[in-house]
Amino acid sequence: LPASELTKYCLTFLGHEVLMFEALREAMIEEMTLDPTVCMIGEDVGDYGGSYKVSKGLSEMFGDLRVLDTPIAENSFTGMGIGAAMKGLRPVVEGMNMGFLLLAYNQISNNCGMLPYTSGGQFKIPIVIRGPGGVGRQLGAEHSQRLESYFQSIPGIQMVACSTPYNAKGLLKAAIRSDNPVVLFEHVLLYNLKEKIPDEEYICCLEEAEMVRPGSQLTILTYSRMRYHVMQAVKTLVNKGYDPEVIDIRSLKPFDLHTIGNSIKKTHRVLIVEECMRTGGIGASLRSAIIDNFWDELDARPVCLSSQDVPTPYAATLEDATVVQPAQIVAAVEEICQS
């Protein structure tokens, strides 16, 4: 059995049930207990327990220097986290919403991403920058941003997106242990997902994709919340007789072309479903990488379904039209398989 299937099998009988934010919290507690240089920096992470309760109770456990409540100064506290990382600490910087981290873009791009290179390898920046992003429920344009594409080109950082409590905990632990700067994208609507996760310690590989549903007819590549839209569409597709293979790519930079490539070699058709912006998004880069590397394996044009290049509207109907819906996924799969 592939590893993911085996895990699912074991999880049925062992482990404990958690919500996604609790899984992240468990990861933080475990890493902070293991390594005294791991600390958390962000707005309202201390006494308030985090705006999504990820750090609830942590400041009582570890003290308020290790779980640092900052003033509202994203640029500076991200810069401070990077400076602390230069000097040997392993900070986890929480952006209350990924959109706020745009204010810290200079620090993330120029200092975080570039310092190991411009210093000729003298410094490493083992920082984790995490926070919720993505389109929520009518949160308005500025709080519903899809910023994976904005950070994608920064040389020197790694980007991962979690989608289940299992991979959230595993990826956060791996990100904290990695010596490279990692940006972990969480999603506002996934914090209350429930899943059973193992009791014993485990880590997910930062550069690996996750096989969600093996299949033979076409490969659907997705990440974060769109995984659930895809699985909903897959229910309809299976009833119609299709057999899609669904892969949650998890690692947005670099892509796990090993898993993706093997899948394309098997199915010869690919559909990318993402919540990122169409222009210059993760899907755009992934489509290019697939064409460059697996052109000979493809029987049809690789299709990419992304969200629209608009600020997320407030009205519910318009907001739904901004992101990819299961019906669109079903239609796209039918079109690809017929071609």
Binding site: S76, G79, G83, Y117, T118, P155, K253, A289
Partner: protein, 422 residues
């Protein structure tokens, strides 16, 4: 062979000479001293190896000496330190040597830039040497320093290698950042020198982060976070200062006020040019940044202060003779008279030279000889740096990531395809 009769001396040595220092006196210098001291000795060929007492030259004493700073300190919500600075002849001589080396290195960089061996941006520090050298005199290598792009002399003050500095400026592989950083990205991790940053003001939060790590680990050391009068108007400075004051981080914000933010004079950019007062609830001290001893006193005071009380701002009133960078002539927004006037009245090296001469710690000729030696040292370093090769193309992808996964290429397709360079 050493002379048999004792030669007349105008200085009686108080303490034995440090042998390491004696070895630095060159035969030429020794010969010059001999000629001055004894006409008879001048008739003989200069001996190859002089005994320590005769190779003495510039005073090496560690007897304390008190000197008054040029102007008293002005302070904001703190009691200023005393104007009387305790120093030693050895310290003054070392300061002279270090500042003269920095001056010579920066002038040499100017020539290299004009010869197109250094490209891009090159921001020179000549005129401001006292800040770098005074700071070093007050602290240890365990304290951290971070600065912006005018970093060549800070790197040298932290013990940086002259050859590595010139090699980096010329983009050679033996540079301190392996040729990949350039003029604005000098770092020296083992000496706690954190660079070397191109974006104005971005280093200020980084410096507060260094201080945070120092406090987190209870190291008992401090961070000197340098920025300019131009960067003083950056919002992130006030954000970082607020956090440093909230958490009592051991950070000293040092504003190197050379009165011009590139081409903009400070009165045109800042509503309040009293940068030492801008901390509001954070104490500040205004220091004559062209006075080595004042800088040393202020930095010593600041270090003791922040370990107890949290951040402090030091405004160093200094001046740069060159323009903002080598692309800026430096004379379109200020007059040549102003530059010449400051060079005449406030030059940091001349000030220390005067101190050495008036306190009879060295003669003018000895100091000139020292400068000649320094010139040679810099020229040798440049020649050696020129021999270093350009980095190989394999360096292009090194150090983008820490290679903890054994991965080799750095695009999106890292695992399957190894990037082939055009």
């Amino acid at each position: 062979s050493p002379p048999s009769a004792p030669v007349p001396r105008h200085r009686i040595p108080q303490i034995p000479l440090n042998p390491a220092r004696a070895s630095r006196a060159s035969p030429a210098m020794a010969a010059a001293i001999l000629r001055r001291l004894s006409p008879a000795a001048a008739q003989r060929a200069p001996p190859r190896l002089l005994p320590p007492t005769l190779a003495r030259g510039v005073s090496d004493s560690t007897e304390p000496l008190t000197v008054e700073t040029s102007v008293p300190f002005t302070s904001h919500i703190v009691d200023p330190p005393s104007r009387d600075v305790s120093t030693t002849p050895r310290e003054l001589a070392a300061a002279f040597r270090d500042m003269a080396l920095m001056r010579r290195a920066e002038i040499a960089a100017d020539s290299l830039y004009k010869a197109k061996l250094i490209r891009g941006f090159c921001h020179l520090y000549d005129g401001q040497e006292a800040v770098a050298v005074g700071m070093e005199a007050a602290i240890t290598r365990r304290d951290a320093i971070i600065t912006a792009y005018r970093d060549h002399c800070l790197y040298l003050a932290r013990g940086g290698d002259l050859v590595a500095a010139f090699a980096e400026l010329m983009g050679r592989v033996d540079g301190c950042s392996r040729g990949k950083g350039g003029s604005m990205h000098f770092y020296k991790k083992d000496a706690n020198f954190y660079g070397g940053h191109g974006i104005v003001g971005a280093q200020v939060p980084l410096g507060c982060g260094l201080a945070f790590a120092q406090r987190y680990r209870k190291e008992g050391t401090v961070t000197f976070d340098l920025y300019g009068d131009g960067a003083a108007n950056q919002g992130q400075l006030f954000e970082a200062l607020n956090m440093a004051a909230l958490w009592k981080l051991p950070v000293i914000l040092v504003c190197e006020n050379n009165h011009y933010g590139m081409g903009t004079a400070e009165w045109k950019a800042s509503k309040s040019p009293a940068y030492y007062k801008r901390g509001d609830y954070v104490p500040g001290l205004k220091v004559d940044g062209m006075d080595f001893l004042a800088v040393k006193q202020a930095c010593k005071f600041a270090k003791e202060h922040v370990l107890e009380n949290g951040p402090i701002i030091l405004e160093m009133d200094t001046y740069r003779y060159h323009g903002h960078s080598m692309s800026d002539p430096g004379s379109t927004y200020r007059t040549r008279d102003e530059i010449a006037g400051i060079r005449q009245e406030r030059d940091p090296i001349e000030r220390v030279r005067k101190l050495l001469l008036t306190h009879d710690l060295a003669t003018a000729q000895e100091l000139k000889d020292m400068e000649k030696e320094i010139r040679k040292e810099v020229d040798t370093a440049i020649a050696k740096a020129k021999e270093s090769p350009m980095p190989d193309t394999s360096e292009l992808f090194k150090n983008v990531y820490v290679n903890d996964c054994g991965l080799e290429s750095f695009g999106v397709d890292r695992k399957v395809v190894r990037t082939v360079l055009p």
